[in-house]
């Protein structure tokens, strides 16, 4: 193989990926009926909302990756 392999560099922006894990695995933080949204209990709409927030967290990491040409 030509040249030394580049050492893997840890990139701080990847820490963002942990955020959904904290939010979703901390079940007591969303295990309630109130506040309801259009009649849907908090438990259900909050987790559905995190599908969108999960993408919102991934996007900056993706953009940063593409810019650094990885």
């Amino acid at each position: 193989m030509a040249g030394e392999p580049k050492p893997r560099r840890f990139r701080a922006i990847y820490l963002l990926l942990i955020v959904p894990y904290v939010a979703m695995l901390w079940v007591p933080s969303y295990n309630s009926v109130e506040p309801t949204l259009a009649g849907i209990p908090f438990f259900y709409w909050y987790q559905m909302l995190w599908i969108v927030l999960g993408v919102a967290v991934l996007l900056p990491v993706y953009i940063s990756d593409e810019r650094s040409g990885k």
Binding site: T36, G39, P41, Y44, W50, G54, Y62, E66
Partner: protein, 519 residues
Amino acid sequence: MTPNATAITVFVTLFLFVTVIGFVAARWRRGNLNELSEWGLGGRRFGTVVTWFLLGGDLYTAYTFIAVPAVLFGAGAAGFFAVPYTILVYPFVFAVFPRLWSVARAKGYVTAADFVRGRFGNGTLALAVAVTGIVATMPYIALQLVGMEVVIAGLGIDMNPTLPLIGQVHDFPLIIAFVVLALYTYNSGLRAPALIAVVKDLLLYVTVIAAVIIIPAELGGFGKIFAAADPKTLILPAATAGSLGPQAAYATLALGSTLALFLYPHAVTGLLSSSSRHVIKRNAVVLPAYSFALGLIALLGTMAVAAEVKSAPEFAEGFKAFGNNFAVPALILKMFPSWFIGVAFAAIAIGALVPAAIMSIACANLFTRNIYREYFDTNCPPAREAQVAKIVSLVVKLGALFFVIELPSTYAIQLQLLGGIIIIQTLPSVVIGLYTNRLNPWALLIGWAAGIGSGVWMAYANAFKTSTYVLNLFGLQVPCYAALSSLVLNLIVSAALSWLLNAVLRTTPSDATVEADYA
């Protein structure tokens, strides 16, 4: 149930349409189908859009769309763990799996076991990974048939017709559907489910959007729907002084399922068929659209409670045959006009064909590469390798068909429950292996055995009824998904024994890959 002619016509038409697509797919992005990477990975040529449809059709299976709302219908909030599960899986895929794609491309790997073979230079460990994949996937294929059976019966089609000359045939429509599926998979390989997935997913989105607009409107809004649900199971019970309770089960099920999903052979096949690592990253960002659809479909379970389908006499037969798995078909039958029932049920049935095809291809790849070529025919030329894979894909599907027809469907459900517990035990070799070759292969093998042993034992202790096993940690009861707790044991054993063996034996890792292969 009385046959619904309009619904059956729409259903059969859509089914015939995808059958034609399945055969025509062989000509799409034409490649030499006598090579395994062409037949079994579509030539690694699928771009972002095709991969999105393919993985969407592959991971969000018909059985999911039947079983997840069935749990909400029967047991309430606990079934909603599928939503956090399918949220958490994408950051994991994004961070880890582009490395697997890169090394597979660089070294021509077709399966996860190929990678383990190269990385650790140990055929026994690779065999363990391959066999685990095949065993975990087989009941999963059988469950797709169960999903299909539910909707075919819901249409009122006679499942056990008496035919001229042969007499009565059990599950005849199922046999027809699966034989057709087997033929075009044999013919076209991964290209068939990839193209069919596009049709399936479009039908699915149409169905979901119609369902969440029409059904709540007819039932008087979400407020009324949730008011009809049992208030005791609307959210999870709180923890008590002595036990973390169902909330711990919920979180560990979500996390364990997340870690297990992309170790399944059909998920790996879907990933490796993409044309670049960027395709995988982009898909980690756009695949959650399916999670949203899954969340909405899960809520159909609650809607079915509000629609009081269980007490309706016309559905009594269906609930008797399929239990709560009949909740969603019953809701669709009750709420929609006949032609749309045909569309919705076709979405579910075709949704069974796509993953069943990919799963059988993935099992065929594993068997051919990691068992046949490794142990029986070391100098196997590429054409014979592809031929063996095609035949194995047929055998696998016939096996699943036999399973569903001859054995009660509870067996398939229980085995699939074990599937998650055993497939997760390949995580140290496959995922941690992507980052280091310092783990000793024999240590990994012993860790794998410890994980499988303890995981299966926990499921056995629950009489295979549930996959959460209550751990007693310093007097605190923690219900934990058995896959996760057994994985922890596996990781501890693998790491500790690796440290020990490396210190004693001082062997250098026999690694066929270099760091540049992973970029």
